[in-house]
């Protein structure tokens, strides 16, 4: 299988070699396999029309399916998986229950977004539990429809009896696919074509050696940023590496109250533990992006992309997260706040890769306050205009150990040192926070862009302190007594 990528599409084995291995999955489906049900609209993972289900082998010998945007997935990334497209949901002549409901409830009008909705909805039933309207909305956040106003789609979803849907493992019995893929998944893959090289190592050592030999190598794990850069700017780096086969990089464990998040841990894998341990950050993850994006994108990728509006960063800043960087020479830990040297500039050597992020978790039962904010034009699935993280200790109503990080107001995430200093030791009251907002305004240097004017960002910065006050005042002892 050297020099090619092997996977399944709708139960059939497919091999992609040469340039096809470097194509996007959507293009490969549409223009190589003539499976044109998968639609292309935005080619940046923001509309969901290209949604497919990606089935990954799990430890139990089954296949777990999740929706992803095929327009920003590369064929080389789906090696050893089973892709289900809209064409693969029918059972013979019979429609899938989701398809049936969408027909009955007028869930389709022009039909162009419909395959994406149908695929994403089908994936929704892979996880058990009661189907509430909230769950439906959350699952379909990444799919845009311009015709229906969504209401008929919500109705369609709510009209389905989840028990009658059946799983995708019923539709495609996994035994044969798993058998064919298990051995394949244990080996490294290397594809070379047209001056480009793809490598999927199976051990950290292999990965580090490849990186050392080819320092320009770009890690393509979720491709939720790199896929967009390819589609919009023609960015096609000569060496790409995917780490999915390196088991240890999938680590997600808590040790000494530190959460260790391996380089390949997707944002959706992070959700359950954050829901339990840091609900405030879980809420940010909910807003972060579409399920399709979170099923592909990783925390390490969000850190590596170094965007000043990366939604996870203010949180990582105030928690004092550390980034583990590894090369053949060994590992080092860098504090997140010193990892960024400037706009999109990292303290990362050419032979290093990010192997994990270590996040100190809030201690339960302490008087610690953690508040996170994401302000955007549209609440869900939108890149932030401004982000903010507040962390502090309250002694009575006196603020201590104040840490504040803001995103979207400077070339990198910034800590508001002056404002922090001002607040430290003061009573939490409205006027103090209002003053803090004004001090903060002077600490930032926002720009005007498509997401908002500089004045607006300054105003938001000032406002967010008042919002913080109103949302946390009940935690002060004075307020509790009142």
């Amino acid at each position: 299988m050297a020099g090619s990528i092997f996977f399944y599409v709708n139960g059939k084995a497919v091999t992609a070699s040469g340039q096809d291995a470097f194509e996007t999955v959507a293009n490969f489906l549409r223009y190589r396999l003539s499976a044109t049900g998968t639609k292309l609209v935005c080619e940046e993972g923001d509309c969901g029309a290209c949604s497919v289900l990606i089935g990954r082998l799990n430890a139990a010998g089954g296949i777990e399916y999740q929706a992803v945007n095929s327009c920003i997935q590369f064929v080389y990334q789906i090696a050893g998986t089973h892709i289900i497209t809209v064409e693969g949901l029918r059972r013979g002549k019979d429609l899938h229950p989701v398809q049936e409901a969408m027909v009955k409830c007028h869930g389709a009008q022009c039909g162009f977004c419909t395959p994406g909705f149908v695929v994403t909805m089908s994936g929704m039933y892979e996880t058990e539990g009661e189907m509430t309207e909230k769950r439906v909305r959350d699952a379909l956040t990444g799919n845009l429809c311009r015709c229906t106003g969504y209401e008929p789609i919500i109705k369609a979803a709510m009209s389905i009896d989840p028990a009658a849907v059946g799983t995708l493992n019923d539709l495609y019995p996994p035994a044969e696919i798993v058998k064919a893929l298990t051995d394949y998944r244990s080996k490294s893959i290397r594809v070379e074509s047209g001056g480009r090289t793809f490598f999927a190592p199976t051990t950290v050592d292999e990965a580090l050696r490849f990186k050392a030999e080819n320092p320009s190598t770009v890690i393509v794990q979720g491709a939720t940023d790199l896929g967009v850069m390819r589609n919009k700017r023609g960015y096609e780096p000569p060496f790409v590496m995917n780490l999915s086969r390196v088991a240890e990089l999938g680590e997600l464990t808590v040790r000494d109250n530190d959460l260790h998040v391996g380089a390949t841990v997707t944002l959706s894998r992070l959700e359950p533990i954050m829901r339990e341990r840091v609900p405030e950050f879980f809420e940010i993850l909910v807003l972060f992006g579409a399920p399709q994006i979170k099923n592909a994108g990783t925390l390490a990728g969000n850190v590596a992309n170094a965007s000043p509006i990366a939604d996870t960063l203010p949180f990582l800043y105030v928690m004092g997260a550390r980034v583990e960087l590894t090369s053949t020479a060994g590992s080092r830990l860098v504090d997140i706040s010193s990892f960024y040297l400037g706009y999109k500039k990292l303290d990362l050597h050419p032979d290093e890769i990010i192997t994990k992020i270590i996040i100190p978790l809030p201690r339960s039962g302490s008087d610690e306050i953690l508040k996170l904010y994401k302000v955007s034009k549209r609440k869900n699935l939108d890149i932030s205009t401004m982000t903010a993280a507040f962390r502090m200790q309250l002694s009575g109503s006196v603020m201590d150990r104040v840490t504040i990080a803001l995103g979207g107001v400077a070339p990198t995430i910034v800590r508001l040192r002056k404002t922090e200093e001002f607040l430290t030791g003061r009573q939490m009251d409205r006027e103090t926070l209002r003053q803090a907002g004004r001090i903060a305004r002077d600490e930032i240097s926002p720009i005007s862009d498509v997401r908002g004017s500089a004045e607006f960002r300054s105003q938001l910065t000032e406002n967010i302190f008042s919002k913080f006050y109103f949302e946390t005042r009940h935690q002060t002892r004075e307020e509790a007594r009142a």
Partner: protein, 778 residues
């Protein structure tokens, strides 16, 4: 039981949910097919000094490069003939096509774009309506609609209010971008598959630009992946470019815009700047209104003058204004030509007066809904529009009354006030608005349609009309109408691909009227065939039983059977009758025709009877605003409309929910942002935010009255555009919310009410409050 009025699924629904429905770029490439793209102007206004194609021509894989010189004609336009397909000496907007590129691959297209060298001297462009006015840059002439005595009306008024009200544009954001495939045929003929609302216009423009006879060009449209007006005129450009390549090279040619290009080069909903002076009594009854509408037409006329016409005939909206002058002028700027968009100027006209209603209420200290009802058109008096059309069957007063009840508006308005008095973090607002939307093209001759009905020997039917399917369900409605005429099941009827080969000289599928016009034409064809079949049945039935007498007038078509009403037990199936008719050499095909009766309008005098009827409605929305972040949540919307008797209630309901959410996007999050040089910055869904599923109001009640519309097809009313205007209640609710903290001032809220707009307005009030600026009142 007939099938009209039944909620059957969309005729493409199964194809849509299985991915089998075919759109332009799903058509498998024909052998030898070329890819077409174009090089567009990187500046908003400039003089082309030189075009150097030498190195692009030599690029491997490039097959052809074409400029305006390769066209037979280069100038065209749907109303005013002022538009160039390819720029000549000057470029007048960023995104304007200059060179058409044909190549073997996308890689070759990309290389060719980089190799094309065009030297342009940049000139100072015009981007705003104010700039256009200052420089006398207009499209078409100013139009006026006038009635009554303005001066007397203002004298009568207790208050006079003046203002300028601005709304921004909106991108259509159809999911399928502009696309076309042209296949060359024999003798320079062309078959063009186009994602267009207007196949006839595509045919006409291609023939005109390429120097062909109309009968040499066939335009075919299976369906569109959304259109919303954006493919009424502007699907023509890609189709013409593909046709040019096909004709020049003799090879099939495909053009498919990507989303970013599509948003950057195509026109949008027109931004408007409306200046108004309104006089009203102490109770808020309007005595005089002088309003001047300016729209931003972009670089070419496109449909701008017609859009302005509709804006002008909709400024009155649901309200009777005795003394009124409406002036309208389209401005020329250096942006892509703005074009049709669901509502077609109606929303920009209606929101102008709905905004005024909020302001009048604030000044008079009344509930805005009382001001609206006070001014509402009457059912027997105060029922003449400013252009002289009498408002028949006016259901507006009933809609107000019923929606007040259903939405529990009065109690909720009090609750909103109580909430705002309490909350330091959030604001609520509530508003109830109305809509009266005229149905028919303002241009009289467009109100015609033809249809072709063919019956086959097994009793199945194919219908073809000029209507194009963009998801709105026109084909499903026509299927129901035809099945109903013959008393057969809808699955025996197929509505066929739209093609200028079958239906000639058709009007655009637009103005909400495709089902009215094409459905009526289809019914006309059916009735002609039915008359012949009734004759046949009356002759045939007695041959089955000698004792039977039968006459054509008593023949019934019902549930798949044909019988004489006097002896229902003696019956033949529809298929058997069709076969019998064939044997008797009776024609089983027909062409139907329909021209909307009784309409007439003179734009020069601003008077006449432009609309066959009006679709009406009321909506109430309640919003919640985060005072610090400007986050806006629509908590509840109630929509109640008069849409007559729907041909398909499920489809019409889908139009109502879909249009409402689309309108909500226009007034809230859809924010077109441009650079200083005129580049659109929000040209993909990452930056241009249409509503997503989380934005649908948690409580969203959508319903319609049980009322007839005797003047139209089966008592139905058009529903495509009108419900978009129902979403204006969201915007007025934001305005209402701001009025609680605006220190007594009238909130100057622009449209869209983005989080930025809301935060900046709130900040102004806060600053004014702290500075102790005395509250002002108008």
């Amino acid at each position: 039981m007939g099938v009209v009025g039944k909620n059957i699924p969309h005729d493409s629904a199964v194809g849509h949910v299985t991915g089998e429905s075919i759109y332009i770029d799903d058509i498998l490439p024909a052998r030898n097919e070329l890819i077409v793209d174009f090089y567009w102007s990187p500046v908003s206004l400039g003089r082309i000094r030189s075009i150097d194609l030498a190195s692009a021509t030599a690029t491997p894989g490039v097959v052809g490069l074409y400029t305006w010189k390769d066209l037979h004609a280069n100038i065209f336009g749907p109303i005013l003939i002022d538009e160039l397909l390819l720029a000549e000496e000057r470029v007048t907007f960023m995104g304007q096509p200059i060179v058409v590129i044909a190549a073997e691959s996308r890689a070759a297209i990309k290389a060719a774009k980089q190799a094309i060298k065009i030297d342009i001297e940049e000139l100072k462009p015009i981007f705003t309506i104010d700039d256009a006015i200052a420089n006398n840059q207009y499209i078409g002439q100013e139009r006026v609609i006038q009635r009554g005595d303005l001066a007397a009306g203002f004298t009568e008024a207790a208050h006079t209010l003046e203002g300028v009200w601005i709304n921004k544009g909106q991108d259509h954001f159809y999911l399928e971008s502009q696309a076309a495939i042209a296949w060359p045929g024999e003798y320079d003929s062309l078959t063009v598959h186009s994602s267009t609302q207007n196949p006839s216009e595509v045919q006409h423009v291609i023939a005109h630009l390429l120097g062909l006879q109309l009968n040499q060009v066939v335009c075919v449209t299976k369906r569109m992946g959304g259109a919303f007006g954006g493919k009424e005129c502007q699907a023509t450009h890609p189709a013409a470019m593909a046709a040019l390549v096909a004709l020049k090279t003799g090879r099939p040619a495909r053009i498919v815009y990507n989303k970013d290009d599509d948003m950057q080069v195509t026109g949008k909903r027109h931004p408007f700047q409306n200046h108004y002076k309104v006089g009203f009594t102490a109770e808020g009854r309007i005595t005089a209104l002088d309003v001047r509408l300016y729209s931003d037409g972009g670089a070419y006329a496109d449909l701008s003058t017609a859009v302005m016409g509709r804006a002008m005939t909709h400024v009155d909206n649901a309200y009777y204004i005795p003394n009124i002058r409406i002036r309208g002028q389209v401005c020329r700027t250096n942006t892509p030509p703005n074009t049709a968009f669901r509502g077609f100027g109606g929303p920009q006209g209606v929101v102008t007066i709905e905004n005024m209603m909020e302001e009048i209420a604030q000044i008079t200290g009344r509930d805005p809904v009382d001001v609206r009802m006070l001014n509402c058109y009457g059912t027997s008096e105060r029922n003449v529009t400013p252009y002289g059309q009498i408002l028949e069957n006016n259901n507006l007063p009933r809609l107000f009354d019923e929606l007040l009840q259903r939405s529990d508006y009065r109690n909720r308005r009090e609750a909103v006030a109580a909430f705002n008095a309490e909350s330091e973090t959030h604001l609520k607002g509530i508003s109830l608005t109305a809509v009266k939307f005229g149905i028919s093209f303002n241009t009289k001759f467009l109100n015609q349609a033809n249809a072709l009905v063919n019956i086959y020997l097994d009793g199945t039917i194919q219908v073809s009309t000029g209507a194009t399917e963009m998801g709105q369900g026109v084909n499903t409605k026509i299927r129901q109408l035809v099945a109903d005429e013959f008393g057969i099941e809808p699955d025996k009827v197929m509505v066929m691909i739209t093609s200028t080969e079958k239906n000639n000289n058709t009007s655009a599928t637009a103005a909400s009227s495709a089902a009215d016009l094409n459905g009526s034409a289809a019914v006309d064809a059916c009735r002609k065939i039915k008359a012949r079949l009734a004759d046949c049945a009356a002759a045939h039935l007695p041959t089955l039983d000698n004792d039977t007498e039968s006459s054509p007038g008593s023949i019934v078509f019902e549930d798949g059977w044909i019988y004489d009403s006097r002896r229902p037990s003696l019956r033949v199936t529809f298929a058997a009758l069709v076969h019998e008719a064939y044997l008797r050499r009776i024609s089983l095909g027909e062409r139907g025709f329909y021209a909307t009766p009784g309409i007439d309008y003179d734009a020069a005098t601003g008077s006449g009877h432009p609309f066959l009827y009006f679709t009406q409605g009321c909506s109430a929305s309640e919003v919640l605003i985060d005072r610090f972040t400007g986050e806006l949540k629509v908590l509840r919307s109630d929509v109640l409309m008069d849409i007559g008797r729907p041909i398909n209630p499920g489809i019409d309901r889908g139009q109502m929910t879909g249009a409402f959410i689309q309108g909500m996007g226009w007034v809230t999050t859809e924010d077109l942002r441009y650079s200083d040089t005129g580049a659109l910055l929000s040209h993909s869904p990452t930056t241009y935010k249409i509503p997503n599923i989380q934005d649908v109001p948690a409580i969203f009640n959508v319903d319609y009255l049980d009322v007839d519309n005797p003047i139209n097809l089966r008592g139905s009313k058009a529903t495509g555009e009108p419900p978009l205007l129902m979403a204006l209640s969201v915007w007025t609710a934001v305005k209402n919310a701001l009025s609680f903290v605006s220190n007594g001032e009238i909130p100057k809220l622009r449209l869209p009410a983005t989080h930025e707009e809301i935060v900046m307005r709130l900040a102004e009030y806060e600053v004014a409050r702290e500075a102790g600026v005395p509250t002002t009142s108008a």
